[in-house]
């Protein structure tokens, strides 16, 4: 395959699909260890493929803007009746998120090596299909196709939570959490479908052409009122998934009941699809309405940061703690997107990647603590520093990353967001900046409760094994690299983010 063969985009989606199916079909004959290796091999190969695409491709083009240009593009007709085609496109933004997806996919497979003991084949089928669906969402350039994968990836996630999740004793069941997650995202998805249909019908009414294609719909002429309405439809659908206040309530429930791989997947990747949707579709389709709406969206982002931080502080369950901190961090992403300066937008991209890695790692650590202590309640932990030699420092590292310690990826992202948002909206930036302090408070409070003090748990539990240390070290290295030398990421996202800024400027009165 040469780098310019667009069929490679299809491979990115098809390989995990096939791998997942393979895991399930041959589990009975080849035993339960086999699916794990197949899944690992599948994810490593797509990771290699996506890294190779990064190394060899030219990402100075932008898929956003008046006339999108794609590094790689693949299109075949699908449902000509409505002008729907199987249209995939890759630019710097999608590439970064696909690499992130595949990195975390490898980690998700690795971290469930021991945790998942039942129905291993079917587990990996769901995990891999979910990852494939996410990759397809990052590539889809036809709104029907985008919606198709947007909804499709939820089903495997539901299975992951409902079958392999945890029931909190005396609390909510995993079915409750899984179904709540599914209904929230599906209902908002229908809203997205309606907005898409509205856009398509307006375009059809104007031109007489049925199309769901990204390039064509960018040129749709909308009256300001309709533009605002449709923009709200897209925004609400994405804000449920992101999640933004007041639609975030599914997230803590889903996280606390999900298996580790499910949490990694949810926090690390699924939440990013919403931010991606805003950048790729929400803003370019409706630049004027988005510019009008920006102060409200930024306000919601700031509110999310502060609210998320306060809620984080009040949690006893480690996984709910990390979940609420995600709400807080995604607030930065929302502010970055709607601030609309290249700096802030690039900050949002870096935050997405850094949060994906750090939250993913924290969830992996939560899972590893749970495997050893059989509790996620911080009141029953404490004194881990004395019990384990390796786990506590690693945990400390990722907590420090999450609170935005300079030198690690999260700091770069949040700093860029604040810097870029300052000239646009000072009050929001001030409130958002306070989130950094609040993050330090809850993060250090968590460290104190979990790691320090007298040991409450039974002693003599095994420390991290080599597989676990290797996965976490990889993530540490990535986060450190992103913090110290973020330039490759910034380069890849520069062109699309700059195009977004131009859209905002064009729309600004």
């Amino acid at each position: 395959m040469n780098p310019h063969d667009p069929l490679v985009l299809v491979w990115l989606i098809a390989i995990p699909f096939a791998g997942g199916l393979f895991c399930w079909l041959f589990e009975r004959t080849l035993g339960i260890v086999f699916p794990r290796y197949v899944a690992l091999f599948t994810m490593l190969s797509v990771l290699a493929l996506s890294c190779w695409l990064w190394a060899t491709g030219d990402y100075s083009l932008s898929g956003i803007g008046e006339t999108p240009q794609w590094t790689l593009e693949y299109q075949v007709p699908w449902i000509p009746r409505f002008g729907i085609s199987f249209h995939l496109g890759l630019d710097g933004l999608s590439l970064l998120l696909i690499v992130l997806t595949n990195v975390l996919g490898v980690m998700a497979v690795a971290c469930s090596w021991k945790e998942i003991g039942r129905y291993v084949g079917f587990f990996h089928l769901n995990l891999l299909w979910n990852l494939a669906g996410v990759v397809a969402v990052f590539l889809a350039l036809d709104l029907f196709l985008f919606f198709f994968f947007w909804e499709m990836m939820l089903v495997p996630m539901w299975f992951l939570i409902a079958i392999w999740g945890h029931d909190t004793p005396g609390g909510k069941s995993r079915h409750y959490a899984a179904t709540k997650f599914f209904i929230f995202t599906q209902a908002s998805g229908l809203l997205l479908l309606l907005a898409i249909l509205g856009l398509v019908f307006v375009h059809h009414a104007n031109t007489g052409v049925w199309t769901f294609d990204y390039d064509d719909l960018l040129k749709a002429e909308l009256s300001p009122q309709i533009e605002y309405l449709l923009m709200l439809g897209f925004f609400v659908a994405f804000m449920v998934k992101m999640p933004v206040l007041p639609f975030h309530t599914w997230l803590p429930d889903a996280h606390s009941q999900a298996p580790t791989a499910g949490s990694v997947d949810l926090a690390g990747i699924l939440l990013k699809t919403a931010a991606y949707g805003l950048m790729r579709f929400g803003l370019p389709f409706f630049p004027n309405a988005s510019a009008d709406f920006a102060p409200i969206a930024m306000g919601l982002g700031a509110l999310g940061i502060v609210y998320g931080a306060f809620m984080t502080f009040a949690q006893h369950d480690v996984k709910r703690l990390v979940a609420y901190s995600s709400v807080s961090h995604m607030g930065f992403v929302l502010i970055g997107i709607y601030a609309g300066t290249t700096l802030a937008l690039q900050g949002a991209v870096v935050t997405m990647i850094a949060h994906g890695i750090s939250a993913g790692a924290l969830f992996i650590l939560c899972g590893e603590v749970y495997e050893r202590l059989h509790t996620r309640d911080m009141r029953k932990m404490g004194g881990l520093w004395a019990t384990f030699p390796y786990l506590p420092p690693i945990l400390l590292f990722f907590v420090l990353a999450a609170l935005g310690l300079p030198g690690l990826g999260n700091f770069v992202g949040e700093f860029l967001v604040l810097l870029g948002a300052w000239p646009v909206n000072v009050p929001v930036t001030l409130i958002a900046a306070s989130g950094l302090i609040l993050a330090a408070v809850y993060a250090l409070y968590m460290v104190q409760r979990v790691l320090h003090g007298p040991a409450k748990a039974e002693a003599q539990v095994e420390d991290l094994n080599r597989r676990e240390i290797l996965t976490l070290l990889t993530l540490m290295a990535l986060l450190l690299a992103l913090g110290l030398y973020p330039q490759p990421v910034l380069d890849a996202s520069a062109a699309p983010m700059h195009a977004l800024e131009l859209l905002y400027r064009g729309a600004a009165p």
Binding site: F148, I163, Q186, L197
Partner: protein
């Protein structure tokens, strides 16, 4: 009246189905053997289906042998066009699937299973008449021919109290509906002096469409149709009948019979001038919204899979009505697509229930606890049921999504925001109970195995049909284009 050759040819699916029921009757009289009679009836249905296919595609495939006979007017009662052929094909396919599923089911039946196929063919014949009905008289004949054999089919296991109860319920409400239908027809005739759809359309567009007789008459007509389609508030019989009837009969009732009624309703609206009476549309909107909301909400608390699917079918016909009400350029196409996806999906779901059930047991395998942990013992069988339930919920990759997409597209086109709200609400609620069933199938191990499918189910006819339905369902969901192409032939021209 003398029929021309073209008219005979156009009428062939109906004639073949009618003849095949006679053949089955003679067959039963000559030799009472299950396999033989089932085969006879399936052969008849298959040739009728083949006739449909030839009528639709013959002129294109063999231009030197066949000429187009469609659309054909056979007496003022029947109008056979592509639309009728599409629905005849759908009804015949559903009937075929039903009889294939019924064969293994009734193989274990203690009584005499042969007459079932006779009743099934007769009922299908009623459906075929409805699909080409162009006249209120043929509408009535079709409805009766469809329902009366169905009654006997519901009560087929005569020793079973539930089945008898269901049949009596269906009988009484069905009779009431027929009375409404006749009275409505009489009132319409009193005002317009015609019973044919084109005549009515002319009358309604020329004169005033709000005369008291015509309005009351069409409302009564709608009430009767509402009973048959089990729209809220005429749905009370549905869950009991679905639960009491043998599983293959329920499959037929919820797919072929409802589809046939809906087909004639849509034709009445587009070609019979139904859209001209604004009251009807308002009333229909109310029925649609109520069916969606009430059907979905009542499904939430069901522990019985057949009852759950009964309530879900109430809601699904609410969705289909939304497209009918939308009335735009997309309406007929949307209804056709939706009913196609609905029939395939529902047949698949009931197919699995039939495979797992057996008439030797006191009841069918209709309690959701019967399915607990089934996935871990019968992964492929359960995967099919799961996919069918997801399709009913309208999740992408399944046929149900394409159907729902069409409904929403038609509604957005017509700016029916209130009904769209109902559809969105209904879909969100619907997820809850479909997921509940799915989660039971994937959870834990069953304490005692009450029901199980026979080994090698996938190699037997009933199993093959469900596998085929599954493939078809996924094909519609993933590559809908050939199906949409087929349906684009089956349009209706507004009269």
């Amino acid at each position: 009246m003398i029929f021309t050759l073209e008219q005979w040819i156009a009428l062939s699916p109906i004639l073949i189905t009618g003849a095949s029921s006679v053949v089955v009757m003679i067959g039963i009289a000559a030799l009472r053997q299950h396999q033989l009679n089932a085969t006879l009836s399936v052969m008849g249905l298959n040739s009728a289906l083949l006739a449909c296919a030839l009528l639709l595609f013959g002129p294109q495939l063999f231009p030197e042998l066949m000429t187009t006979v469609l659309p054909a007017e056979v007496t003022p009662l029947l109008h056979i066009d592509n639309y009728s052929i599409f629905y005849m094909g759908l009804i015949l396919s559903a009937t075929l699937a039903t009889s294939t599923l019924a064969h293994p089911y009734f193989d274990e039946f203690k009584g005499k299973p042969e007459e079932f196929y006779l009743l099934l063919s007769l009922s299908a014949l009623g459906g075929l008449v409805l699909a080409c009905s162009n006249h209120l008289a043929s509408l009535f004949i079709g409805v009766e021919l469809l329902s009366v054999p169905l009654l006997a089919m519901i009560a087929y296991p005569l020793h079973d109290k539930h089945a008898l109860e269901a049949a009596v319920k269906y009988l009484i409400l069905s009779a009431a509906a027929s009375a409404f239908l006749l009275l409505g027809m009489a009132l319409i005739y009193a005002d317009s002096g015609t019973l044919s759809f084109p005549g009515l359309a002319q009358h309604l567009s020329a004169g005033d469409a709000s005369g008291p007789y015509i309005v009351i008459g069409s409302v009564l007509l709608l009430v009767a149709v509402g009973f048959k389609l089990s729209l809220v508030p005429f749905h009370l019989w549905t869950p009991d009948v679905y639960e009491g009837a043998p599983a293959p009969v329920t499959a037929f009732l919820s797919t072929a019979s409802k589809t046939a009624i809906f087909a004639v309703l849509l034709r009445f609206f587009t070609e019979g001038g139904g859209y001209a009476t604004g009251v009807l549309i308002d009333l229909l909107s109310g029925l649609a919204a109520l069916s969606i909301v009430v059907g979905n909400l009542l499904a939430l608390r069901q522990d019985n899979l057949k009852r759950l699917l009964a309530y879900s079918s109430i809601a699904h016909f609410g969705y289909a009505l939304v497209a009918l009400i939308a009335a735009g350029a997309l309406a007929v196409e949307a209804v056709n697509v939706y009913l196609l996806t609905y029939v395939v999906t529902n047949l698949g779901a009931f197919g699995i229930i039939t495979l797992v059930s057996s008439p030797l047991k006191e009841r069918d395998a209709d309690h959701i606890e019967d399915y607990r942990g089934l996935f871990w013992r019968r992964p492929f069988l359960t995967a099919i049921l799961t996919a069918m339930l997801l399709s009913l919920a309208g999740i992408p990759v399944t046929a149900g999504f394409i159907g729902k997409f069409y409904i929403l597209a038609a509604a957005v086109d017509a700016r029916q925001w209130l009904l769209i709200g109902a559809v969105v609400f209904g879909s969100a609620v619907g997820l809850f109970y479909y997921l509940r069933v799915i989660s039971i199938m994937f959870m834990g191990e069953m304490k005692h195995i009450g029901f199980d499918v026979t080994l090698g189910w996938e190699a037997r006819a009933g199993g093959l049909v469900t596998l085929l339905l599954m493939l078809l369902m996924l094909l519609i969901g993933i590559l809908p284009d050939p199906f949409l192409h087929l349906i684009s032939f089956a349009g209706l021209s507004a009269g």
